[in-house]
Symmetry: C2
Subunit: 216 residues, 2 copies
């Protein structure tokens, strides 16, 4: 059982992360102060340092929390792929969930911030990559390896196939969002990118069945 | 004939753009001052304002100059595509030139800077997009429309096909570079991404010939 003290501590942690996200997004990493975060979360600087170590630890906690929430969104559909009986349908379903999970305004703002700071703070960029795109890529590589083993994908290099799939789905909306021009894509537009990206991916990596079902 | 005065003026313009690039990349857009640029270019602030209007005009001139230089690199090979007699070979050749032109360290630094500032200075992001990716996309759409007209591509939506091609070639190295982790890709690695991206693209959009030549 979770004790009341543990519950309070988890709530405090979450409040600090929410405050930190606002402060970082408003002023960038260099411009943000732990004082400001503590004040916004109605707590003491000492508590913030106690829970997160330093400003970098705090930023990494924001990254990790946001990426976990985004991954949670598509976790079930990526796991279902391994045992898929209808790959074209299941891959499209995963693609649709994946693009919606990634192209969220606060994730896109965080990504812009990290890219802008990547030269000055390479640790933050590495933390983002390791927790987000890198982990997602590892999962997808594992899934595609299994699917190739089942004879459902033709992928000599499953890691490359995973990258191609990921970017066929995400690149168009993601790069629009990087220039602050794609945050307002409609769900129908995101779905279209997911479907068309899946179609191109399966044309290259799918296994054609009699009648060419894998190409549709 | 170009007069000595015009030559001097072109040289001055170039020196100011070079100085501005250094100053912007070192301190970001907001942190840069026209004074600093003028001093580094050994000219007066008045000359800078006379030639470029204001700080935004100066930044836009840097963007335009760098993108023009990058586009120049792949211009001939994209134009050759329209009349191609061997699309797989010519598309691969263009892809190789395109990825090398885009994934240059100073272009990647500029792109990171613009993404980081896209919320505060949406004009700069729009200028980058219009002069760079947007223009490249228009050119490629025109080329793919012509190739579809010649029966060499199956592309109902040539604008989407152009986006898919572009991102299949660029996404992997570009997104590594955004997190400051891919500036050091070797020419052989870039070539591999160009070749594999072209292969996937042609599997989806190519016209298969007897013997399956378009898939190799």
């Amino acid at each position: 059982m979770v004790s009341p003290a543990e519950l309070r501590s988890a709530g405090k942690r979450e409040a600090i992360i929410d405050a930190a996200r606002s402060v970082f997004l408003a002023g960038g990493f260099a411009g943000a102060s732990v004082d400001e975060v503590a004040a916004l979360a109605s707590t003491s600087k000492r508590t913030v340092y106690g829970l997160f170590g330093d400003k970098k630890g705090l930023f990494t906690a924001v990254i990790t929390a946001d990426i976990e929430a985004a991954e949670h969104h598509s976790h079930d559909s990526v796991e279902a792929l391994v045992a898929s009986q209808d790959l074209a349908t299941d891959l499209r379903a995963f693609a649709r969930r994946h693009v919606v999970a990634v192209i969220q305004p606060h994730i896109m703002r965080l990504r812009r911030l990290i890219i802008g700071e990547a030269e000055r703070f390479p640790d933050l960029a590495s933390a983002w990559y390791a927790n987000g795109p890198g982990r997602g890529h590892d999962t997808l590589t594992r899934v595609f390896t299994a699917l190739a083993g089942r004879g459902l994908l033709r992928a000599d290099d499953p890691a490359l196939a995973a990258q191609h799939f990921n970017w066929l789905i995400l690149s168009i909306p993601l790069n629009q969002a990087m220039f602050h021009m794609g945050d307002d894509l409609t769900p129908a537009e995101l779905e279209h990118h997911a479907d068309e990206g899946t179609r191109v991916f399966l044309a290259a990596y799918g296994v054609r069945r009699p009648g060419g079902a894998a190409r549709t």
